[in-house]
């Protein structure tokens, strides 16, 4: 019964709350009444002190997270840290600055010498990566407000088939690549524009943003941390660094006794089961496949680069100058009817159209090169993913996948050895557990 009412109630509540909280405006009075509109006031910029405070809080939260995951092994502690992070980085700091969006600032600063990102932004970009190299995805575990809000909404986790998870995981690379391309060319910060949860943090936003966020939250009730697993561009970087992390959360505090109680503990498909080495015949087949994929890799990479470069005209139109140049050209050559606000404003500046065309052509060349780079990156990612799928590593115990495990600590309590460590069970129970 409870299942039948759960989903409709949740969706209706969220939608109605979204409509009620969405920005609503009055039409102005349509005749003059002598009322003087108040002067527009500009709020004072935020004090620098708060920026340093943000970085300090991030550092403290990451340190505490690492201690809770690796030393204390406390899901309760991680949960409390999550609530704090949601309150501080999400609700109080309104989701900005965030490590995910900082990718774009860093990308822009690398390609635009006129842009210098604030130190806080650099700190937000680097600190989680630094911690990941040593301690795994501590940032995802309890510091990221986007991960937290998804985690809190996880109601009835459904297992995504492993094969589908492999493909969906590639979407994050696509998002990362395009976000870097648009940021590096100064076109748009798409990660911020399409942040699905920022409207909740700010308790305000357009109806479209709220609906996007609600859709994600409804999905996240059943697919644990869907955004983190399949879309988060920063998660892509964290996965890479986590793979080589020196210390990482483990299911068991000491030795795995193969009791298999933790098999279904992870809602994020991050527990790897023991794997036996294949038989020699299968090994030969696997080698042939691997050689084929290794040969395919450069072909796939180059063809992906070429193909993506063909889409560069579409990418280039993300830049406002290119769009304006196209519009002006169309208007001046009778291929567009009327004018737009942007074209009128441009003409009012008195700037010659030729200068705008030249700027647009330079941008188009930049996008062409950028699209090649994006295509090569994506081709490489797909090729390496195919190679990874052809390789089977020998494993002897249940362990957390270092790339996909977000160190949430859910699995700790499933391990009898952990219960012994906590003195909740006696040693003799676990010795017969297997």
């Amino acid at each position: 019964m409870i299942r039948r009412v759960t989903l409709p109630t949740l969706i209706i509540c969220l939608l109605l709350a979204a409509v009620s909280l969405a920005v609503e405006r009055f039409p102005p009075p349509d005749f003059e009444g002598g009322h003087e509109l108040p002067l527009t006031t500009v709020p004072a910029p935020r004090a620098d002190l708060y920026e340093y405070l943000d970085a300090a809080v991030l550092l403290a939260a990451l340190s505490l997270g690492a201690w809770l995951v690796l030393k204390k092994r406390s899901r309760r502690g991680i949960f409390l840290l999550m609530l704090f992070s949601l309150a501080y980085f999400g609700l109080w700091r309104k989701g900005c600055v965030c490590s995910i969006g900082a990718i774009q600032n860093v990308a822009l600063s690398l390609f635009d010498s006129h842009y210098v990102p604030p130190l806080t932004v650099i700190a937000f970009f680097l600190l989680p990566l630094f911690f990941t190299v040593f301690f795994g995805r501590i940032f995802c575990a309890g510091v990221c407000p986007l991960g937290t809000i998804q985690d809190l909404f996880l109601l009835r986790p459904l297992k995504v088939p492993l094969w589908l998870e492999q493909a969906l995981g590639l979407l994050g690379y696509l998002y990362l690549g395009t976000a870097v391309l648009f940021a590096a060319t100064g076109s748009a910060f798409i990660i911020c524009q399409y942040d699905p949860f920022v409207a909740f943090f700010r308790l305000s936003g357009s109806l479209n943003m709220l609906i996007l966020g609600i859709c994600f939250l409804v999905i996240c009730m059943f697919i644990g941390r869907a955004y983190c697993r399949f879309l988060c561009p920063y998660g892509v970087l964290l996965r890479f660094f986590s793979r080589v992390s020196k210390y990482h959360a483990s299911i068991t505090p000491d030795e795995c006794i193969q009791c298999r109680l933790c098999e279904e503990a992870c809602p994020f498909n991050a527990i790897e089961k023991p794997a036996q080495p294949p038989a020699s015949q299968n090994r030969r087949q696997g080698k042939r496949l691997l050689i084929f994929l290794l040969v395919l890799l450069p072909v796939l990479t180059l063809s992906s680069g070429w193909l993506t470069s063909k889409a560069s005209p579409a990418f280039a139109r993300m830049h406002a100058d290119v769009r304006l140049a196209d519009r002006i050209w169309q208007e001046e050559n009778g291929q567009a009817e009327g004018t737009t606000d942007a074209s009128d404003a441009f003409r009012a500046t008195g700037q010659p159209a030729a200068e705008l065309y030249q700027t647009a052509q330079i941008l188009q060349q930049t996008f062409y090169r950028g699209s090649w780079a994006l295509g090569i990156f994506l081709g490489l990612v797909i090729g390496l993913k195919l190679i990874q799928l052809a390789v089977r590593r020998h494993k002897t115990e249940y362990q957390a996948n270092r790339m996909t495990c977000v160190s949430c600590g859910r699995c700790f309590a499933y391990c009898p050895r952990e219960r012994v460590r906590r003195k909740e069970l006696e040693t003799k129970h676990t010795e017969h557990g297997s």
């Binding site: 009620s20 094969w163 589908l164 493909a167």
Partner: protein, 597 residues
């Protein structure tokens, strides 16, 4: 947070069962609570839906449009508007508070549901282990296919982008092929059949070439104009023809042709009528004008989409529309030229009529605010529509029309727009003088009589300005000013001795031009949008209901006759030899005897 799994016993402990039941009860209570809040919120949303479209408020606003000077009505509207806004704010506050309560209920519901699910979760019961290698192979194979499917989707997306944006623009000028050139995008242009000749002032006086006749002063050169007719019975009506498209522009006449414009949001056209029979000889559809906005802007209903009156110089007819389309065509409806001046920023819709001087088509293109700096006085070549000169005007949008009169032997263009009355040289557009005598939304056009320029500041002042000055003459050349019976829309008319003002509500006021003293005023108790006209010693006053009140000029108001058109109108009549042409809401009328030549 997730409770830890219970490893100690297979059946749920009594504590766990009790907790599960508590969680379910809490979930139900939260669900019912959410549903109740939901009902209140929905009811609030439903009741708020049309609050700002209050029928009573709309009706009052409509009444105000017909009676703009009614302060009591304005106060009533303000009070009601404030009440509605207060209620709207209250409902919005209710809605926001309700949303927070709903979210709180939702959090409780989520928490209790999650807890209930956790307590119902079965204990981990691993099945006997299997050889995992076949499973690995199967997963890997499916994963490869899913990656391939993703690749296919990416290819399709790229194909879609390629089809939409096939290549980068080269920004080279378009080379039009001969075949393409053969397909005109606009009606074929013709050269004017009569070359540069300019008709004399006498010819202009014989005709009715622009808004309010020769020079735009509302004065007829003829005396033999009908005084009696009845449009409902047909008495005294020479012909009556339906105009295919609506408009508030007035009819203009040259020789045997009558011209009017008409437009809707979708269509615009110029019509040529036979002046003797009323037959529509041609219709020039205004289409395919380069640079014309794809869509006509929304324009106030009272203004309409064809408010500016066209103009003729006897060689061609020229028209302008509120989207900036301006064109010239010959008397057979063949296009000379057409262009777009850019969409004017005009609050009620562009309504200034055109004027003409020699080969110059004069356009008072007032728009936006003073700070916008968009307003211009433009002279186009009547032959080809190209700019002859443009003069920037330091004024905001206006709905007046320029008047071209001869002052001290030189032709001057008189204009009114907030905050200036400005005179320009008609030959080159150079400013001669200006006076700060205008404010608000100005619609009445200026006139020139008895050596004075008369300008209206709506609802406030009538200014009589002496000419002959240079630069800012505000402090030096205001001969007199008056404050009673000042019009808001209708332009004044003068016979030299008196200047006559008509306000929308029908208050007709007469001032002596010599010293600005009020001679008399008369409450006619009918509404007017049409400007008063002068036919020799008679004043022709056409009401919104189509009733023409004819009165004597003189030291007191004396009505001579009243005649009915038979339909409503806001247009100013055209007076010709023995005829009057009036555009009604639907029909164009020619008033005059059928025997009259």
């Amino acid at each position: 947070m997730d409770p830890k799994p219970n490893h100690t016993a297979h059946p749920p402990s009594p504590t766990a069962t009790e907790r599960y039941r508590t969680a379910v009860r809490a979930a139900w209570i939260a669900a019912v609570f959410c549903a109740a809040v939901l009902v209140f919120l929905l009811a609030n949303q439903w009741n708020s839906r049309d609050l700002l479209d209050n029928p009573e408020l709309l009706a009052l606003k409509k009444t105000l449009q017909q009676n703009r000077g009614n302060e009591g009505l304005k106060e009533q509207i303000r009070t009601l508007d404030q009440q509605i806004r207060a209620e709207m704010l209250h409902r919005r506050e209710f809605s926001q508070t309700g949303a927070w309560i709903l979210l709180a209920g939702f959090v409780v519901f989520l928490w209790s549901t999650k807890t209930a699910f956790t307590y119902r979760e079965p204990l981990p019961m691993p099945q006997p282990g299997k050889n995992s290698y076949p499973q690995f192979l199967r997963t890997a194979r499916l994963a490869r296919w899913s990656v391939a499917a993703l690749l296919g989707a990416a290819l399709l997306a790229t194909g879609g982008l390629l089809s939409r944006y096939p290549s980068n623009f080269s920004y080279a000028p378009v080379q039009v092929s001969a075949a393409e050139q053969a397909e005109p995008t606009a009606p074929p242009a013709v050269q004017p059949t009569v070359q540069p000749a300019v008709f004399s002032m006498e010819e202009f006086q014989k005709n009715w070439p622009c808004f309010r006749g020769p020079q735009g002063l509302g004065i007829s050169a003829y005396a033999n104009v009908p005084t009696q007719w009845n449009g409902t019975t047909g008495e005294g009506i020479r012909w009556k023809t339906e105009v295919p498209l609506p408009g508030n522009s007035s009819a203009i006449v040259w020789g045997s042709r009558v011209f009017v414009t008409g437009a809707t949001k979708e269509k615009r056209a110029v019509f040529g009528f036979d002046a003797d029979t009323g037959k529509i000889l041609w219709q020039f559809d205004v289409v395919n004008i380069p640079g014309s906005p794809a869509e006509m802007p929304n324009i106030m209903e009272d203004t309409g989409y064809a408010a500016p009156t066209p103009v003729t110089n006897g060689l061609g007819v020229f028209a302008i529309f509120p989207n900036g389309d301006v064109l010239g065509c010959d008397f057979e409806g063949r296009q000379f030229w057409a262009r777009n001046l850019g969409l004017p920023d005009s609050m009620y819709g562009y309504a200034s009529s055109l004027a003409i001087h020699k080969n110059q088509l004069i356009i008072q293109y007032d728009q936006g605010s003073v700070d916008d700096g968009l307003s211009e006085l433009i002279a186009l070549d009547t032959q080809n529509g190209k700019d002859l000169w443009r003069t920037k005007r330091p004024v905001s949008a206006s709905w007046t029309s320029p008047v071209i009169v001869e002052i001290d032997g030189a032709w001057q263009i008189l204009t009114v727009a907030p905050p200036w009355v400005i005179a320009y040289h008609a030959e080159n557009g150079q400013e001669i003088w200006r006076a700060e005598c205008a404010s608000g939304d100005v619609a009445p056009s200026p006139i020139y009589a008895n050596g004075l320029v008369f300008a209206i500041e709506p609802y406030s002042n009538l200014y009589a300005l002496r000419t002959g000055g240079q630069g800012d003459i505000t402090k030096t050349h205001i001969a007199w000013q008056a404050e009673d019976g000042i019009p808001d829309i209708c332009s004044p008319v003068s016979n030299g001795e008196f200047v006559y003002l008509m306000d929308t509500s029908g208050l007709f006021t007469c001032y002596r031009t010599a010293d600005g003293t009020k001679a008399w005023e008369k409450e006619l108790d009918v509404y007017f949008h049409s400007s008063p006209s002068l036919v020799q010693d008679k004043l022709y006053l056409l009401s919104d209901e189509g009733e023409m009140i004819i009165a004597e000029t003189g030291k007191e108001f004396k009505e001579i006759a009243r005649s009915l058109l038979g339909e409503k109108t806001k247009c100013s009549p055209a007076f010709l030899d023995g005829r009057i042409y009036i555009r009604g809401e639907k029909n164009l009328y020619c008033i005059g005897s059928p025997k009259n030549p």
